[in-house]
């Protein structure tokens, strides 16, 4: 099995980051396996460097506290960034969602 093959990964950004990256709906990224949070976010920041620091802290690499990661109706925010993402994300059937906290009360 070729573990270095690139997969088409779908990512949904929150509204403000779509504006910042000048993209409309979903973005599609070529990500080399294994497909993990880190691999997807690295690919996202390479393609859209203006997003560097907006999702993960520039120094620590930690997810910013008001953001969460979802896929396949599961909250993946607290998963290890090196855990494989669900097969449906790796296969392109489902997007990887980056969600901002609701600004309300």
């Amino acid at each position: 099995m070729d573990t270095n093959a690139a997969k088409k990964i779908r990512v949904v950004l929150p509204y403000h980051l779509r504006l910042l990256a000048h993209v409309g709906g979903e973005v599609q990224l070529d990500v080399v396996e294994p497909i993990t949070q880190r691999a997807v976010l690295d690919a996202l920041e390479r393609r859209y460097p203006m997003l560097c620091g907006t999702i993960r802290d520039q120094t620590s690499g930690k997810r910013r506290p008001f953001l969460r990661y979802y896929a396949c109706q599961e909250d993946l925010s607290l998963e290890s960034p090196d855990n494989p993402l669900p097969a449906a994300v790796a296969g392109g059937a489902e997007p990887f969602l980056i969600i901002g906290a609701i600004a309300g009360g």
Binding site: Y15, R46, R47, Y48, P49, G53, Q58, R64, A101
Partner: protein, 395 residues
């Protein structure tokens, strides 16, 4: 024909207001960067069309934006519109969002903690850029005052940023403490007669000066008295809200402190109080008239626990004697039921004659005076909460 451009940063985006030299009719454009906190925008004094903006968010962190055409178009430095944002190898071209504290042994004298609210030591954590100060001589050089307090410099028009570590590393850093609003470096003044001399102010650490272009810094807080800290006359720990200078008299600085309006005539070595007859000496902004070094403006508010104008009357106070004797300026400003605030970076002056003065409020009003404060008109009345105002002269 000359004119004025106001750069207005708000809690929900930026606005640009322009007028001719009469300063009576204003055109408002915006919002730009809709929905983001725009802490500060400021144009280069060398090239007014070069404008830097601090775009920040609790969700998404810090973004630096730059315009090279007077605010018509914007981009993140390093990624001009229409150009690829990456190199052919796929690496980012610019690092305009990247503010990383210098911890190198060679230059940083690594300093990793400051005092937290509870008295314990706490790591330095970058949060946002509070203030951008373009160089007086080079449009590609710009300084950034950040939270947690430090000063950064870019020499490539905002593409990359490097800390000037001598400030955090000079020795008193572990004693610096955040105020309730955070530990921000909010004031940067470059001496117009000696660009190696700079002044900065930090809430709640105090004011500092370098005489060698930022390599070495020292606290300049002698004469300040702050009753809310254990040692009211300590070398650092004072909540300085804002400092202002007149370019013709660079050793004289005026300060609005958490309480007290202060003045120094020896570049900060010694301060003395000039609050005089103000109804309250608590406030945030302070400005100096463009042509009269002894004419100073403040906007007093009732108290730290009651951050609104005294008696619900929005009054700018002007001293024409360098402090102590103050007169209220009220014509055109609401004189009843007014409970807005004016934040530290939300005042500015222009260089026309007569001098124009401007301020924005937390209620979303922007006021302008074309006669040195004698009368005021509203430029805008229903913007989001105003964080910063900067006036630019247009040729």
């Amino acid at each position: 024909m000359s004119g004025i451009r106001l750069l207005v940063g708000t809690k929900k985006g930026a606005f640009i207001c322009t007028s001719d030299s009469k300063r009576k009719k204003w055109n408002i454009e915006g919002p730009i960067f809709t929905g983001w906190d725009i802490f500060h925008l400021k144009g280069s004094p060398v090239d007014p069309n070069r404008i830097y903006a601090s775009q920040t968010s609790d969700w998404f962190g810090q973004v630096i934006q730059r315009s090279d055409d007077g605010g018509k178009t914007w981009h993140q430095p390093g990624t001009p519109p229409g150009e690829a944002t990456t190199t052919p190898e796929g690496f980012p071209k610019g690092e305009s969002n990247k503010f990383v504290y210098d911890t190198s042994a060679e230059t940083g004298k690594p300093l990793t903690t400051h005092q937290w609210y509870d008295g314990t030591q706490h790591p330095w954590e970058f949060k946002r850029v509070w203030h951008l100060e373009p160089s007086l001589s080079d449009p590609d050089v710009v300084y950034a005052g950040v939270e947690d307090a430090a000063i950064f410099r870019s020499t490539d028009a905002g593409k990359s940023w490097h800390e000037m570590p001598g400030l955090r590393g000079h020795g008193t850093g572990p004693q610096w403490t955040p105020g309730a609003g955070g530990m921000g470096l909010h004031t940067i003044i470059i001496d117009p007669t000696n660009h190696d001399r700079m002044f900065v102010a930090i809430s709640a650490a105090g004011s500092f000066r370098t005489d060698d272009g930022g390599k070495n810094w020292k606290p300049i807080n002698r004469g300040l008295r702050s009753e809310h800290i254990p040692n009211p006359t300590a070398e650092v720990g004072h909540c300085v809200h804002r400092i202002a200078q007149h370019r013709a008299r660079p050793n004289t600085l005026f300060m609005q402190k958490h309480w007290d309006v202060m003045r120094t005539d020896d570049a900060g070595d010694n301060w003395y109080e000039v609050s005089g007859n103000l109804p309250s000496d608590f406030g945030f902004p302070i400005e100096v008239h463009a042509h009269e070094p002894d004419t100073v403006y403040v906007v007093p508010i009732q108290a730290d626990s009651s951050r609104f104008p005294c008696e619900g009357k929005l009054r700018v106070y002007r001293s024409r004697t360098g402090g102590n004797e103050w007169e209220p300026l009220t014509r055109g400003l609401p004189q009843e039921h007014c409970y807005v605030n004016v934040l530290r970076d939300a005042t500015s002056v222009d260089k026309l004659d007569p001098c124009g003065i401007y301020f924005g409020t937390t209620g979303g009003q922007v006021y302008a005076s074309a006669d040195s404060g004698d009368s005021w008109t509203a430029v805008a009345e229903h913007l989001p909460s105003v964080v910063s105002v900067e006036a630019q002269m247009l040729a």
